[in-house]
């Protein structure tokens, strides 16, 4: 960067041997490396202090965790039907939110794709809006909607949809921006306007990418929606919170297994479908 430095190159001795440059501990390069390493290390230590990392407390807590783990067996299976219904609720929240977000996100992703809409007049505010949606987490939105529309999965759907719109639109626009230009030009040359170009060329050409993005977000949403219940926004998280509050580890074990199974199955389905699309 900046000034041009002589490059390190292997030399050649008079006997025809290659001579490699020796490491110079006080060269400006070496000193810069020391300074950067020191700064990074200091920053990490500061983070450890601020996060109140305390290994002693961990050591004290471990036996407690072990005791609880021992009391978790045998798993509590009497409420299995209710737990499974809650798991279904979790999947439903994620599915509704992802489908709605996919539909809403597509036109927005067109507006922020530089190769389709060249003007920043529209793209900049839309991009800022989407950044805000992406920056605010699903759980934060969910807390807001629990207050606005009351407890239950619907609040979760609303919160998750908003965040997912931001994520999907951003990923879609990146896929659209990498579409090869020439076929789009050919369609433009027929005299097609922007909307025809989008419907006839951009949408079919980017469809596999768009579908893959939505499947990926759906998979992530199922994982996220397991914790929505903790803030009262529906799903299996409600049961998890109740079990933890009551230190009911038999129930907690059942719930953990259900969550793991659910997430694994959804991941597999999503991965399979995305492979098929590729």
């Amino acid at each position: 960067m900046g000034s041009q430095k002589p490059e390190r190159v292997p030399g050649l001795s008079s006997e025809g041997k290659y001579i490699e440059p020796r490491f110079q501990p006080f060269s400006s390069d070496a000193i810069r490396t020391y300074l950067v390493s020191f700064a990074l290390l200091t920053a990490f230590i500061a983070c450890v202090r601020i996060a109140e990392v305390d290994l002693l407390r961990l050591a004290e807590g471990m036996p407690r965790l072990a005791r609880w783990a021992a009391t978790a067996w045998p798993p509590y299976l009497n409420d299995l039907d209710r737990f499974l219904y809650r798991a279904l609720e979790t999947i439903s929240i994620a599915t509704v939110a992802t489908v709605v977000a996919t539909i809403v996100a597509f036109p927005l992703s067109i507006l922020i794709s530089k190769n389709i809409v060249a003007s920043n007049f529209i793209a900049t505010p839309v991009r800022a809006f989407l950044n805000a949606l992406r920056g605010i987490d699903t759980v934060v939105f969910a807390i807001l909607f629990v207050a606005a529309v009351g407890l239950g999965p619907f609040a979760g759907v609303l919160g998750m949809t908003l965040h997912a719109i931001g994520v999907i639109a951003k990923l879609n626009s990146e896929a659209i921006e990498t579409l090869p230009r020439p076929p789009l030009e050919a369609v433009e040359l027929s005299g097609a306007n922007r909307s025809k170009l989008v419907m006839f060329a951009v949408l079919p050409a980017s469809l596999p990418n768009l579908a893959s993005t939505s499947l990926y977000v759906w998979e992530a949403n199922v994982r996220t929606s397991t914790i929505l219940g903790i803030v009262g926004a529906g799903g299996i998280g409600i049961e998890i919170k109740a079990a933890i509050d009551l230190l009911d580890f038999e129930k907690l074990l059942t719930l953990t297994v259900i969550v793991l199974a659910m997430v694994t199955i959804i991941d597999q389905i999503s991965a399979y479908l995305r492979r098929r699309l590729a």
Partner: protein, 224 residues
């Protein structure tokens, strides 16, 4: 490219003001960054006339076509296509003017995931309503024209195949069919048959399909 690289079997000077011309270029200059590609190119093409641009690769032949269609802005000069001042048009006016120009690209430029027929129908996009495009409901007359074009280039059997499943030569013939369907007044062809197989007669029948009334036998020009 300098104008000397431009060879035509027909007088390219045309009328002094370029009026009544299918294509009239005056003093066209174009540079990419610091590379001057075209400088002071002037060219007239009369209705019904065939002009061939010859030049080594990198000479700027494709750039001429991009400037004529308004795909690329120009640095100086004027480009007039059938009374449309292409260098000055924007938006709706540019889209209308483009309907009169057919361009066969060197690289076919099909939408790979659409069928051959859909790609050919793209030639009608400038004319059909947006709702028809959204629902993929092209007027029957357009569909007939598109199928006729596919038939003309010998690809009727492949009409419903996805474009990216076709061979290079077939894709290029789809691109030719697309331009035929557009029914433009000016036809630009950027090495239109470079990928079509040289099997006896194939190339000539392909070229014949879009150049029905050649003033001179096309074989004379070779690949251009």
């Amino acid at each position: 490219m300098n104008t000397r690289a431009l060879i035509s079997p027909i007088d390219i000077n045309g009328s002094p003001d370029g009026s009544c011309m299918a294509l009239s270029i005056r003093g066209l200059s174009k540079s990419y960054n610091s590379t001057q590609v075209l400088s002071g190119l002037s060219l007239d093409v009369a209705p019904g006339e065939l002009v061939v641009l010859l030049g080594p690769s990198g000479a700027g032949k494709s750039t001429v076509f991009r400037c004529v269609t308004g795909l690329t802005g120009i640095n100086a000069g004027t480009v007039t296509v059938d009374d449309h001042p292409m260098h000055a048009l924007k938006g709706e006016a540019l889209r209308k003017a483009r309907r009169d120009i057919g361009l066969i690209f060197q690289q076919f430029n099909l939408v790979g995931r659409l069928s051959a027929l859909a790609n050919v129908l793209a030639g009608r996009l400038g004319y059909v309503a947006s709702w028809r495009v959204a629902l993929r409901r092209f007027p029957q007359s357009d569909r007939q024209a598109a199928l006729a074009s596919l038939d003309k280039v010998g690809l009727l059997q492949q009409a419903y195949q996805r474009a990216d499943s076709l061979s290079g030569g077939q894709q290029q013939r789809v691109a030719i069919a697309r331009v035929l369907t557009q029914q433009s007044k000016l036809l630009l062809a950027d090495e239109p048959v470079s990928s079509v197989s040289i099997r006896r007669g194939t190339r000539s029948s392909c070229v014949d399909s879009f150049l029905p009334e050649l003033p001179v036998p096309w074989e004379q020009f070779g690949q251009a």
